[in-house]
Amino acid sequence: MATATLEAAPAVRRKRFVTPMKTVQFVLLVLFASAVLIPLYVVLVTSFKGGADVSPANAWDLPHIFSTDGWASAITRLAPALGRSLILAVSAAVLSSILGSLNGYVFAKWKFPGADVVFTAFLFGMFIPYQAVMIPLQKMLLDLQTHGAPWLDGIPKLILVHTVYGIPICTLIFRNYYATAVPNEILEAARVDGAGMLRTYWSIVLPVSMPGFVVTLIWQFTSAWNDFLFALFLSSSRNGPVTYALQELAGGQNPDYPSIMAGVLVASLPTLIVYIALGRYFISGLMSGSVK
């Protein structure tokens, strides 16, 4: 697993070019960074504007009258959906991480005949466009819901879906992690001592699994939180997650821009906090998306 490979290279070769080259490099980096931050600037500035201040003419200016009305209205409107998203993202992250850990253990250390084929078949599930399963998925879940599982409506349905479609990537992350983090000799020793597969998992593999769990939990939390496609097809404004609610907030006839832009920030805050606080693990998750 590509953990922490982005860390700076040793300082040896750095001091070499304190040259015009170096300056150009820095200026370019600053320019690109400013360009990337432009949307964030506009969103932030607009979210703190008060009524009369929102006219398009001064959209790029800092607020003349500082107001938190936009934030208040966005939070009020998004609060129920925020709660639902939190339940959804946490549950889906925990469930698929547990399954991924068990699977990864088997695919790395307890291979059965055909395990590689099954694993590749799992990986393909990571790449499928969900449009290709959406129509029958919607029907199957609706059938389940109307025949005996009415509680499935809304968030539970999305938890199920995100858990299942999260299995491939979590399995991949754990398999790659266990392949290097758990030496075969230790497992062999445990086997000689008479420990079975589950016992070995519980007392040897699980205790060293934390780094893997951090990566899969963050990855799954972020993708469940940010998902809109499943939300649109499988839930409604009444029981949908925050992406759904934000879409509704932004889609009104007379757009209230401070409230919409505050909504953008409110809906992005949890994943942004995760990114800022645990960026290194977030990046490892991204890396594992590239299969290697």
């Binding site: 590509a2 969103v43 590749t120 466009p129 992406t243």
Partner: protein, 301 residues
């Protein structure tokens, strides 16, 4: 028997996941293909309106609206992939050489990746407003006016020209360039410093160092990056839905057209055929890639 006892527990432990993935991925794909081949009947008279089978696909492929969506997807994909790869590689090269505040730049470039396409789309919908001129312009157009560069104003994706989807690629490039940067950066950092030293000792220029020593070694990263971006582009839905709205013909791609087919047009057969084609395009690229990585991994063991 002893061998069976060795591997059976493993299979048992994975079996819940095998069943779930089997049903939710392969079972549903199969069912979707079946739907795409189904016969359609008139709801009231029960008369067969469409014999089904492969005709469903030829109907879709010859539909002007679908062809327009395919063209849009092509424009979007080419601009999105080229732009994202270029920025990703450029940023990685600028950063891998070591610079003050590297961590800050890295975090800034990568932050859009943490935001949902929907949230980003809401912001970009405003930034890419088509209105132009001193009294009307909002978003980026207004910024260009303020900066004294009125010629940069554009109708963006709302433009009626054939290449309007190039503008839709801008927010997508904004979101994913940082990701590609991170992939390349990890690739560069994996190359030992000795090789650079050796090249320099041999008198290689900076350009030659990249061209002949570093770039060839990150080419597997480039392949992964292309696959990831390509499959993302094929299924891009959230961003377009969020920027252009649910019902935009101008910005329509197969993934959003499928939603139109399914709901406003209540044509699940056509929608399923559309989805199957998206899947087929992705599979043609991804399956060989997965087999290839599987092989190289085995060979490396």
């Amino acid at each position: 028997m002893r061998r069976l006892r060795n591997w059976a527990p493993g299979l048992l432990l994975v079996s819940p996941s095998i069943i779930l993935v089997g049903i939710f991925v392969y079972g549903l794909i199969g069912q979707n293909i079946a739907t795409s081949l189904a016969q359609t009947k008139d709801r009231i008279t029960g008369r067969v309106t469409n014999p089904g089978g492969l005709a469903n696909y030829t109907n879709l492929l010859t539909d002007d609206r679908y062809q327009h969506a395919l063209w849009n997807l092509l424009v979007l994909t080419v601009v999105f992939m080229t732009g994202t790869m270029l920025f990703g590689l450029l940023w990685a090269v600028l950063l891998e050489r070591g610079v003050t505040g590297e961590g800050v730049f890295r975090s800034i470039y990568l932050f859009p990746m943490a935001i949902s396409f929907v949230a980003a789309g809401v912001a970009w919908r405003w930034l890419l407003s088509p209105a132009q001129g001193v009294d009307q312009a909002v978003g980026l157009n207004q910024l260009f006016l303020k900066l004294g560069m009125p010629w940069l104003q554009s109708k963006w994706w709302s433009d009626s020209g054939s290449f309007n989807m190039a503008a839709m690629a801008i927010p997508a490039i904004w979101q994913l360039s940082g990701y590609i940067m991170a992939l390349f950066l990890a690739g560069f950092r994996g190359i030992s410093d000795d090789q650079r030293e050796a090249a320099r000792v041999d008198g290689a220029s900076e350009w030659q160092l990249y061209r002949y020593v570093l770039f060839p070694q990150v080419s597997p990263v480039a392949l992964s990056a292309l696959i990831i971006l390509g499959h993302m582009s094929m299924k891009m839905f959230d961003l377009i839905y969020s920027i252009a709205g649910a019902n935009s013909y101008t910005a329509e791609v197969p993934a959003t057209f499928m939603w139109i087919q399914l709901f406003p047009q209540s044509n699940p057969t056509g929608a399923a055929a559309n989805a199957t084609i998206i899947l087929a395009i992705v599979a043609v690229v991804v399956v060989p890639y997965l087999i290839y990585t599987n092989r190289t991994e085995k060979a490396g063991r």
